[in-house]
């Protein structure tokens, strides 16, 4: 592709100001949409690991001397933070 035809291509027959923004919006919106789950996944896993660490610390603090009936049950779901 030589420079003239590249210039013609970019000019879009005089409609460059409409065609290129349309394609840019299409690509930008879909790019943002595809980044969203990555960001959220990282957040969810980070929160979850922090929660697990807190629970492990709590268990370690209590040590073996748990009072009957107050021991945290490992099977119970943790309270939702968000």
């Amino acid at each position: 592709m030589n420079l003239t035809s590249l210039h013609d291509f970019l000019a879009m027959g005089g409609y460059a100001a409409y065609v290129w923004p349309a394609y840019a919006v299409f690509l930008a919106v879909l790019l943002a949409d595809s980044l969203a789950p990555t960001v959220r996944r990282r957040q969810v896993l980070r929160d979850l690991r922090a929660q697990l660490a807190r629970q492990a610390a709590r268990r370690a603090r209590k040590g073996g001397a748990t009072i009957p009936g107050t021991a945290p049950s490992p099977s119970a779901p943790p309270p939702r933070s968000a």
Binding site: M12, Y15, V19, A22, V25, V29, D33, P37, P77
Partner: protein, 252 residues
């Protein structure tokens, strides 16, 4: 009660199974979407000849029409998934419905913006309150309403049920969008592509349109898989399979 549902479908609706399944599916769907997208864009911008009336401005059709189809298709998926979720209380159906909404809203937004950018040089206006444009705008508001209602509840499953109900009511708008160009006088041009019968478009313009339609469909599958996977992790945070997974991914 649900004995007619095939066993494999039943198993697939279990969150850990679907998590793995979606994890296997999305890289292929995304790869194929990018491939089809690249081929389609090349065909749309380089190979297809200019239109005899609209010049090169008509090239917006190659992203406008696939996005518009997706805006309606995703809404229909969301409606069906919401129905399944409300009737059978299947958690995965709720997740699929609610995670479809942002993708559908994205495609509806693209449709409106690209349509506006096409309308200015061809009709001389960015916007007009005619049937097709207005009903598509209502579709965007329906998506935003579903997303907003879903997040308005403290309890996510309760929110999903309320938003699912709204989604089902809003399904009525999908045929209105589709048939608006036939039912009312409108500035918007009629259907170019005809499933039953001859399409009003040349073959070298048609194939990029169809390839890009395929690309947007595949993209939806990939994006939905990724969103559903993430949401299942958040929803099932108390379960062993998620805790194991979180601990395993902590290493790097």
């Amino acid at each position: 009660m649900t004995h007619w549902i095939p066993l494999w479908l039943h198993r697939l609706s279990s969150p850990p199974t679907f998590y793995r399944f979606a994890g296997a599916v999305w890289p292929w769907a995304m790869g194929l979407a990018l491939l089809a997208g690249a081929i389609g864009l090349y065909g749309a911008l380089v190979l297809a000849p200019p239109d005899y009336q609209q010049g090169d401005a008509y090239r917006i059709i190659f992203i406008h029409v696939p996005s518009a189809w997706m805006s309606m298709f995703i809404y229909a998926v969301m409606g069906v998934a919401s129905f399944v979720a409300l009737v059978w209380r299947i958690k995965l159906a709720e997740v699929v419905a609610m995670q479809s909404a942002p993708i559908g809203a994205a495609f509806t937004f693209i449709t409106l913006v690209t349509g506006s950018l096409w309308g200015k040089p061809m009709w001389g206006t960015w916007w007009t309150w005619d049937a097709r444009l207005t009903s598509e705008l209502v579709l965007l508001f329906l998506y935003l309403g579903v997303i907003g209602l879903y997040h308005a509840f403290e309890d996510r499953r309760q929110g999903a049920r309320a938003a699912g109900f709204l989604a089902i009511i809003g399904v009525i708008n999908v045929p209105i969008v589709h048939f608006s160009v036939n039912w009312w006088n409108t500035l918007h041009q009629g259907s170019t592509i005809n499933v039953f019968g001859a399409s009003k478009i040349a073959a070298d313009m048609l194939w990029p349109l169809l390839v890009l339609t395929l690309a947007t469909k595949l993209y939806y599958v990939a994006s939905l898989c990724r969103r559903v996977r993430t949401d299942l992790l958040a929803l099932e945070g108390g379960k062993d399979w998620v805790r194991t997974l979180a601990a395993r991914e902590a290493a790097p």
